[in-house]
């Protein structure tokens, strides 16, 4: 049988399997499943036992193929979705200070939330956005949304819709234009922030759907940053937190908290120490900690087990590779190069 035929057979089997599973789901015959705690521990143990086999193979000088590594990652990330293991999440000081800054805002304060990210970063930043918006709406803070990334305002709409589904928030009957507005996106990167320092309206003459700025009650008296009490930047890169610090904080003196992707977070720590940022949420872990503080359990918390497993898998591979390397170096012959 040729490789192509084998590939087609495997693809067909996977497709048929997916169709059957989907059909079960769509007809309501299946509602998902979850391992018991005992079973979860057994499955975890099996995964790590299999890694011992990988270690033995590697020690024998047989590096496992990259596709097998890929499979481990996929399993390590996916299986925890079905596990019932709870972990305690601890609050980092940088998350606590960010929350404290929000908590001291009086009712009716205006919070500007800059959505500077796109869908690829949503698993890390969307849970932060949802927790933040839930917190603001529950505590009667007014929210002004904008984006320096074109996808930002759409991600904001999703987060707002998710927050509005909460009973406590839905019962408040919040109004667009009064309790929150979405100003949309504007090109120009940090120059947009600079211009907002003199006049918001100049960069956002209309909101994201074309309604004139002056018709939006919430922002009628918002001319520049002096009318904003707190800025929260959700950032996945450029333009993002660094630009907000450089312009909004250092030129206009705003109080800035940031939610960053984990890739960007380390670059922002110097700003945290110097007081240019009041706090940082770094990656999904930061989102989970923030969810814990704000009291809304969302995807950040839900996915922490997957995150833990994924880290353990990567660390195991690093350790296996290095143990084999060190032993091999001692033997003065190195098949692992």
């Amino acid at each position: 049988m040729s490789t192509r035929t084998k590939e087609l057979i495997v693809l067909s089997i996977v497709t048929v399997f997916c169709i059957i599973v989907y059909w079960f789901k769509a007809t309501g015959r299946m509602h998902g499943f979850q391992f018991s705690t005992g079973m979860s521990i057994v499955v975890s143990a099996l995964i790590f036992l299999s890694l011992v086999v990988v270690l033995i193979l590697t020690l024998k000088g047989r590096l496992i193929g990259r596709r097998l590594v890929f499979l481990y990652v996929a399993i390590g990330v996916s299986l925890p979705f079905f596990m019932s293991i709870t972990q305690e999440i601890k609050i980092s000081p940088e998350v606590q200070t960010l929350y404290d800054g929000l908590a001291e805002l009086p009712t009716g304060s205006k919070v500007l939330v800059a959505f500077d990210y796109d869908p690829p970063s949503a698993p890390e930043l969307q849970p932060m956005a949802e927790s933040l918006l839930r917190y603001c709406f529950n505590n009667d803070l007014k929210v002004v949304v904008m984006g320096l990334w074109p996808q930002g305002p759409q991600q904001a709409n999703m987060a707002i819709e998710a927050a509005m589904r909460d009973e406590s928030i839905a019962s408040k009957n919040l109004q667009y234009g009064v309790d929150w507005v979405n100003l949309g996106f504007q090109s120009g990167n940090e120059f947009v922030i600079q211009r907002m320092g003199s006049e918001f309206k100049s960069m956002f003459p209309t909101d994201y759907a074309g309604r004139p700025y002056d018709e939006l009650e919430l922002v009628q008296n918002v001319h520049n940053f002096s009318n904003i009490d707190y800025v929260f930047n959700l950032s996945a890169g450029f333009p993002g937190t660094i630009e907000w610090v450089q312009v909004a904080v250092d030129r206009y003196g705003v109080k800035l908290g940031a939610g960053n992707t984990a890739v960007q977070a380390p670059q922002c720590y110097p700003y945290l120490r110097s007081g240019q940022l009041i706090g940082i949420l770094g990656g999904m872990n930061g989102a989970a900690e923030f969810e814990l503080l704000t009291g809304f359990t969302g995807k950040g918390t839900k996915f922490m087990l997957s995150q833990s497993f994924a880290h353990m898998i990567v660390l195991s591979f690093i350790l296996i590779g290095n143990v084999a390397f060190i032993i091999d170096r001692r033997k003065k012959k190195s098949p692992i190069r």
């Binding site: 590096l63 496992i64 990259r66 590594v69 890929f70 990652v73 996929a74 990330v77 972990q87 305690e88 601890k90 000081p93 940088e94 796109d118 869908p119 690829p120 949503a122 698993p123 996808q151 305002p153 759409q154 709409n157 819709e161 949309g184 090109s187 120009g188 120059f191 947009v192 600079q194 211009r195 003199s198 100049s202 960069m203 209309t206 994201y208 759907a209 074309g210 030129r251 380390p266 670059q267 720590y269 110097p270 945290l272 120490r273 770094g282 990656g283 872990n285 922490m304 833990s308 994924a310 880290h311 353990m312 660390l315 591979f317 690093i318 296996i320 590779g321 290095n322 390397f325 060190i326």
Partner: protein, 216 residues
């Protein structure tokens, strides 16, 4: 003239942006506002230029039947599909329930997210095959990565739960991030910033002209 005018524009605009920081009054505040507004529009046009160039190249590939020209057709069709929908739906094209939002949710989002998420697999593979403690520096790097990766997820504290709070992995990761990591990051930050400042000065004074390209 093809070089002198651009050099003049660069110098004047650059100087205005420097001066408006020190003198935020007329005329520099006004010029700052104009230039920022223009920058916004020019940047939008620059991105349009990139998009139109992509289309131009795609059409060329189709016309000349280059390798994989069929995929160039897919690029053009996908571009036209979302553009037509976006223009037809007017200013409220991003409202929930619009066709544009459907394309965003079910085509753009899965594609872009998967494209970036695929890197996870390669990071793991590279960790296994290439991340080696070959010398002291590499060992330091590896140890920092190890403690941060474990300390930043709850499992780290589970593994060190027998230790006092201050010695648990989350506390160690917090210390690494807030002190040695911040110090190194700050050194890099200051180094890059000084580079940017000197390059900016060279550009404004017309010493650095490479952005103007070759020719007259």
């Amino acid at each position: 003239m093809r070089r002198e005018i651009p050099l003049f524009i660069t110098g004047v605009v650059g100087i205005v942006f420097v001066l408006q920081y020190f003198i935020p009054h007329f005329p520099f505040n006004k010029m700052n506002a104009w230039f920022s507004d223009w920058f916004s529009i020019v940047q939008a046009c620059a991105i349009w230029l990139g998009v139109l160039n992509l289309l131009k190249i795609s059409f060329q590939n189709i016309g000349r039947r280059k390798d994989d020209w069929g995929y160039a057709i897919v690029i053009v069709v996908s571009f036209l599909a979302i553009s037509i929908v976006g223009f037809a739906e007017g200013e409220a094209f991003r409202d929930s329930g619009t066709s544009f939002t459907w394309l965003y949710d079910y085509i753009y989002t899965p594609l872009s997210s998967s494209m970036f998420a695929i890197l996870a697999f390669f990071v793991a593979s590279a960790s296994y095959r290439a991340f080696r403690a070959r010398n002291f520096e590499a060992t330091l790097l590896l140890l920092a990565a190890f403690f941060v990766m474990l300390g930043r997820v709850p499992i780290g504290d589970v593994l060190t739960s027998f230790m006092p709070d201050q010695l648990q992995l989350s506390s160690l990761a917090t210390w690494i991030m807030n002190f040695p990591q911040t110090a190194g990051q700050r050194a890099i930050m200051i180094g890059i910033a000084l580079g940017i400042v000197s390059t900016s000065l060279r550009i404004i004074l017309g010493v650095e002209r490479s952005h103007l390209g070759g020719g007259d």
